[in-house]
Assembly symmetry: C2
Homo-oligomer: 271 residues x 2
């Protein structure tokens, strides 16, 4: 079987890293499409793909088309790109929230097989500066769609080191990532509002809890603004658990607190 | 000037590490006092002090007496130990909350100079297993009391690598550590209540934010249960900032959110 052609639309940290991971492992011929000619030129120089340009029509030659722009860009782009992807190909994305993306893909009625995706990976660097061909190693890569028709995509995802994780629907994905990712980000931002004279005495607990506040604000805004309802629900769950802890402290309930702390320690040790 | 004698009451991670730091740097002759004879024997074998036993009266020969038991033990111990410390010596502690400790020290009316203390250092291991002679390197060591009469203590604290940080009163200390330490711990425990199927897709943001949930529950209970009011106030401040973020997300206020995220990133980069 000859190597498939993969078109990656958007050459940021995610798109660039997937292109690099496929190219360096000789898994596919990768073609990049990006808005700015300078970005395409830089990606070519980095040797992370076979060719790159600014013309979206390049996607029509691909066996797999990966949309790798931020979610809010993606939502505008889908109606334009979807009709260009040929029947028999796979159209996927790497957006960090999924409900709006899946809805936009559905409305665009593409001839291609649609599989929404989200690699749970990333670093603190933005754009092509964040490219890392090993970014996906051992990381879950969420996939939503018809698994039987997505064998090629699943093979590529596995081959770059990720663990494919099929989910039933975009709502399941968005609630889970709200709970384990978007809420920790929000808590980090809330903690960073602590008065300066207190931050001056901070130790490792504060450093660890606020590390993600160093992330690229554009990337974070993208998932916060496209996931309001699951975030609201998860925040309510979190606040309820925090209030339970505060009530036990106010009442001096040592036994209740100890149970919670021991259970948390045990669960954390299994992550 | 001959080496001073330092008595350390309580040979856990803190007391043991301070004893080790003083002994290995030949800064003082260290005598340990502990409840259990086996702990004293183990500390002697580790070579972290000159002598160790279970008799509290050993503190009467010391130039500096360091109370290094958990806060709730300390509160019971102070009336018993304080009268044994001679005039001209310094009586200090390393408890993680200060208001109740300072009040207990005041009530005990010791002849010695009283300086409350809190080294902002620690690791995840409990007891003598956590002993580390470099534990205090570059860490703030909060001191509360009469600085002019505490020159010897300040010299020892500096000599083990810590940065002495004088505070006006115990209330200032307890509010600041509630904000930058006790709240991150509580958020970690609240996050560890997340449903299992969601934790399964967690990435680094969740791992970082929950790392302290691996700590010794006894140590954590000690500071949570002896600091209820500052924790309540800090939690209120945190929840207000979290609610502001949630409101901006619900309303799709990109500009407001971006400002908060950029300010947090800038502040975090300076820690």
């Amino acid at each position: 079987m000859s190597r498939p052609t993969v078109a990656v639309v958007g050459l940021g940290q995610m798109g660039g890293s997937f292109a690099a991971a496929l190219t360096r492992r000789r898994l596919a011929r990768v073609v990049g499409v990006t808005r700015r000619a300078e970005t395409a030129a830089r990606a070519r120089k980095m040797g992370i793909l076979a060719d790159a340009g600014t013309d979206l029509s390049a996607v029509s030659d691909a066996d797999v088309v990966v949309l790798a722009t931020p979610v809010r860009t993606l939502l505008r782009q889908i109606p334009e790109v979807a009709p260009l992807v040929r029947s028999g190909s796979i159209l996927t994305d790497v957006g960090s929230t999924k409900t709006d993306v899946v809805e936009a893909l559905r409305r665009a009625k593409p001839a291609a097989t649609v599989v929404a995706g989200h690699p749970m990976a990333g670093n603190e660097r933005a754009g092509l500066d964040g490219v890392d061909e090993n970014l996906f190693e051992q990381r879950p890569w969420v996939l939503i769609g018809n698994r039987r028709r997505a064998a090629l995509l699943e093979r590529l995802v596995t081959a770059v080191g990720a663990r494919p994780l099929w989910m039933k629907n975009p709502e399941e994905h968005d609630l889970k990532v709200a709970r384990v990712s978007h809420i920790p980000y929000l808590l980090a931002y809330a903690l960073m509002g602590t008065p300066e004279d207190s931050i001056r005495v901070c130790g490792n607990s504060f450093r660890d809890a606020t590390r993600v506040a160093k992330s690229d604000p554009d990337m974070v805004l993208d998932f916060l603004l496209t996931n309001p309802r699951p975030i609201r629900r998860s925040a309510g769950e979190l606040k309820k658990r925090l209030d339970d802890l505060l009530r036990a402290i106010a009442r001096g309930e040592a036994t209740t607190l100890r149970k919670t702390l021991e259970r948390a320690r045990e669960r954390r040790s299994r992550i």
